[in-house]
Amino acid sequence: MNTIPGRRIIMVVFLIFLLLPIYWLVNMSFKTNTEIVTTMTLWPHQPTLENYKRIFTDESWYSGYINSLTYVLINTVISIAVALPAAYAFSRYRFLGDKHLFFWLLSNRMAPAAVFALPFFNLYSAINLFDTPWAVALAHCIFNVPLAVWILEGFVSGVPREIDETAFLDGYSFPRFFVKILVPLIASGIGVAAFFCFMFSWVELLLARTLTSVNAKPISAIMTRTVSAAGMDWGLLAAAGVLTIIPGALVIWFVRNYIARGFALGRV
């Protein structure tokens, strides 16, 4: 691949630009509040784990992480489960209204969350799911199911048709073919799709905040609340922020070659 002059410097400068704000957050999370407010220090002079300790011992904090993880996991499972057969259908068959349906799915992926906040509030209150992880999980399906369909469709299309035909000739029933042959073949695709469902559900705040009040409050909502109530506990806020970055940072290595694909809905 051909590159441009001065590329090392450009790359290094850009990476520093990306890392500096994150470093500042990590830096703050290890400081005491007195150090944050009174002095300007580039690294923590009196490093403390107090902020993290408080998050892990105070139930109103760590329950936020549990709530978030609960609805994110439910959402990922639902999205992948319903998207898999649909991805196969879109990739292999032509049927009445297939293109319209595909477009309709995409349009839901792109719909502004703000539009749905209020109707979702009414809908999930009406069916008694308000303030449960299920409400948020189902609400996030609106953008994650289309995303999963689009990503998986690309991976299914990479599996040669002959494999289906051979399997059917060998007497595999459709469900058995699906579970025994197709799913193992596109395992990496399922992993990528699951990662992106996880990610987009994890980063979303507006719907998650609107659909919960007490019992299922996600960590992101707890963060905003505590900032306004506790008179700016910066160290604690920073520590909570760092902990929300970790799940993404942990798995990013495994999907690094698929990131562009996932963000472009499997079309790269």
Binding site: M1, N2, T3, P5, R7, I10, M11, F14, L15, L18, L20, P21, I22, W24, L25, M40, A81, P85, A86, Y88, A89, F90, R92, Y93, R94, F95, L96, K99, M110, P112, A113, A114, V115, F116, L118, P119, F121, N122, L123, A139, C141, S157, G158, V203, E204, L205, M223, L237, A238, T244, I245, G248, I252, R256, I259, A260, F263, A264, R267, V268
Partner: protein
């Protein structure tokens, strides 16, 4: 591309259809319903016809003024971030190392901002930009630049834009990098034999090959920036005044803040319609591009 016609495929699509219909069609029907009515509380509704829509598109009314102002701000915001992120993303993609372990490291660091929860992105920049405790704000102020994103409109805009550049330029870069990687080496060798300049290589080989991913990147960035909510909300709360109140923030204010259901619903529909039109362009681009490479799919 020789897909067989099979109407039974609908059974495979049915679960997706039901799930998405439940969470998209039902709520949207409520929105349409509300948009035609007025309420004075107590769950009493009155027929208002297209009144809200008229008001929405008339800048002299309160609702219309707020909507059009936030729409204008939002379009300006989208235009600015596209003008920065697209060229910067291309430059970064061209600067990617060729091979070795540095490629993986660069990819991981580039992707990092994309995976941070949006409210934490806001928090990061809120802390980073504060004049008293943030590295950026502190440095700027000690350099003699009076910078305060809470009280100064220009500073608030600058902060929100730099934040978005920080958050999403990587997406453009990663997409372009994926496009660049698909160019066979033979192209470059041919260019070398022809004695093509660096610029000529970019214009004649790399840019055309990146065309499609760039279009996807532009549309994705446009749509996401057009419905941006969380990040500016956390950093500036839409202020100072209304200077960083974008359409989504205005909508949430009306819908959940004032509980003005009719107005909010009318705004939602117009907002959704704009997104839908852009989305249709996006879809056409993607499916056309897909039709261009059937031989690749068949060979895979």
């Amino acid at each position: 591309m020789d897909k067989t016609i099979n109407q039974k495929a609908w059974f495979l699509v049915l679960p997706v259809f039901l799930v998405v219909a439940f969470s998209a069609v039902l709520p949207l029907m409520t929105v349409v319903n509300y948009s035609m009515q007025d309420t004075f509380g107590n769950n009493q509704f009155f027929w208002n016809g297209v009144g809200w829509f008229k008001e929405l598109l008339d800048p002299s009314t309160d609702l219309g003024g707020r909507f059009l102002a936030s729409l204008g701000r939002n379009l300006l915001f989208s235009a600015i971030i596209l003008a920065i992120e697209v060229p910067l993303g291309i430059v970064v993609a061209l600067s990617m190392p060729r091979q070795g372990w540095t490629v993986a490291v660069c990819l991981v660091i580039l992707a990092l901002p994309l995976l941070i929860p949006w409210n934490v992105v806001g928090t990061i920049w809120q802390i980073f930009g504060r004049p008293d405790i943030g590295l950026l704000g502190y440095t700027l102020n000690s350099l003699g630049i009076d910078y305060n994103y809470v009280s100064n409109e220009f500073d608030a805009w600058a902060t929100v834009i730099v934040m978005d550049v920080w958050h999403w330029t990587s997406l453009v870069a990663l997409l372009c990098y994926a496009g660049l990687k698909s160019i066979p080496d033979a192209y470059y060798q041919a260019a070398q034999i022809d004695g093509a300049s660096r610029w000529a290589v970019f214009k004649a080989i790399q840019l055309p090959k990146m065309n499609r991913v760039l279009l996807i990147a532009v549309l994705l960035r446009f749509m996401d920036s057009f419905m941006i909510y969380t990040e500016p909300f956390v950093v500036t709360g839409g202020g100072p005044g209304n200077s960083t109140t974008f359409v989504s923030i205005e909508l949430v204010k009306i819908a959940l803040g004032q509980f003005d259901l009719g107005k909010a619903a009318a705004l939602s529909l117009v907002y959704n319609l704009i997104i839908l039109i852009v989305c249709w362009i996006f879809y056409t681009v993607m499916t056309n591009a897909g039709a261009e490479r059937p031989e690749k799919k068949g060979a895979a």
